[in-house]
């Protein structure tokens, strides 16, 4: 099948999601105690713009006339989520690069809290934009569950990546913030959002029912296997075992975090692909 949006769009949404998720995790720890969590905050603030920029480069390579992107700065269409999203992403990249540069050269203590706050709001908006970009196009599978599914997936994957980048301090953070409970709550929220999406597809119109059939019959491995079991059920189970005292956070968090990141990519890629089959 000829795809209008190929894997580069999925990668942009995935890497962009990792970036904003990482930034939000860094921002939370920065506000709790910038000194204690300096190492984690630093990595989060440095990786965030790099990930978002990597996604944007891939997206640019997918455009037919990438040089014209500069024209989106003055030929603005307020009814287009992409038009608004380009502004949000560029502003986020500029501000987060400034923060990354400051953190690299002067450390976290010197950072202006208001700038971090503004950038965190931008990160949240960019995370939501990824879903709105799809739901705004209004193809059958890209319904109104998209912003929640994409945003929650980005938060999960971004914060998991930050845990993986801070293996030594992850356990301490997990203990202090009861991470297994928090992550399990967010994983459950994501499962609920995906359930709402699929339920909506299965029950709404003839064409949405057709898409539901395609999802179940042709994409079972990608949906049930990689997105649901790997991305959500395995980490949910592992963290539940931690809560039940059957295992330790230290022994499962690497596997669980990798599973969350991998699952986030497969889920987003599947949604982008499925929308083009409608």
């Amino acid at each position: 099948m000829y795809l209008l949006w190929d894997i580069r769009v999925s990668l942009d949404l995935f890497l962009g999601g990792l970036g904003v998720g990482a930034f939000l995790m860094g921002a939370v720890l920065y506000y709790i105690d910038a000194k204690i969590y300096e190492g984690i905050v630093k990595k989060a603030f440095i990786f965030a713009p790099l990930l978002v920029m990597a996604g944007l480069v891939l997206l640019l390579s997918e455009l037919g006339r990438p040089m014209n992107v500069i024209k989106t700065l003055y030929a603005i269409n307020p009814t287009s989520f992409m038009s608004v999203g380009i502004f949000l992403q560029l502003t986020f990249v500029a501000l987060s690069l400034y923060i990354a540069f400051s953190v690299l050269t002067k450390g976290t203590v010197i950072l202006c809290a208001k700038v971090v706050y503004t950038c965190a709001i931008l990160a949240g908006l960019v995370g939501l934009y990824h879903g709105f970009l799809l739901s705004g196009i209004a193809r059958e599978p890209w319904n109104n569950a998209m912003p929640v599914i994409f945003f929650v997936s980005s938060i999960l994957a971004g914060s998991s990546l930050i845990l993986l980048l801070n293996i030594n301090s992850a356990e301490e953070v997990a203990k202090k913030f009861k991470l297994p409970i928090v992550i399990n709550m967010v994983l459950t929220l994501e499962l609920a959002a995906i359930f709402a999406w699929v339920y909506n597809l299965a029950l709404t119109t003839a064409s949405s029912k057709h898409i539901y059939d395609v999802l179940m019959s042709s994409f079972g491995v990608e949906f049930w296997g990689l997105s649901i079991v790997v991305g959500l059920i395995i980490p949910l189970t592992l963290f539940t075992l931690v809560l039940l005292g059957k295992t330790t956070f230290k022994s499962v968090f690497v596997l669980a975090s990798i599973a969350i990141v991998v699952g986030s990519f497969f889920l987003k890629n599947l949604v982008v692909y499925l929308g083009q089959m409608a």
Partner: protein, 232 residues
Amino acid sequence: MTKKYGMIIDLHRCVGCGACNLACKSENNTPVGIDWASHKIETYGVFPKVTYTHTPTLCNHCEDAPCVRVCPTHAMHKTEEGFVVHDPSICIGCKSCMLADPYGVIHFNTKDAFIEFATDTSSEVKDGTFSKKELSDKSKAPFPNFNAERGAGGYEAIRRAGAVEKCTFCNHRVAKGLAPACVVACPADARIFGDMNDPKSQITKVLKENKPTVLLPEKGTNPKVFYIGSYN
């Protein structure tokens, strides 16, 4: 009062000859594989009681056009007369319009159209037949049937790679008081084009006298291409 152009296609008159398709290609310099005027064929029934319909299609110049709504640069936009047209000079080639258009009438140029007429020097019979490049050089045009008029108003007469294109309701012809090429070429007079805001126009009268239908009314796009009659 501002003009509001629309088109009626009388399916009872249409003979399915494809003259509209060919006229559109000549008028608008569209390459092989890109047809602004097209058609869909649907087969119904159970053998031996089988029938089919032939429905000519083109851009519906929707009043509530999703392609215009999603375009990040206003490259896909609406003119005062209600034409939904495209400006390749500000198109980023994101293909959002193609994904948003429920009718599948927008096309993407993966390469410069007719580029083979500038590069292909091979000929079927060496020293016997013209190569594509020679044909283009001899006719002093980008390709032999080139219509320079399509470039009126700054529009790319032949679209380069990386942008989209679609039916413009022949806005370059309408600006000169002419009917669209597909309307003129139709041997069965199945197409009526005109200003729907003019109570005396033929389109207004025919719309009043019939019960017109549109494609995918459930999408809420308010198309301005109407169908009357039945193919069978």
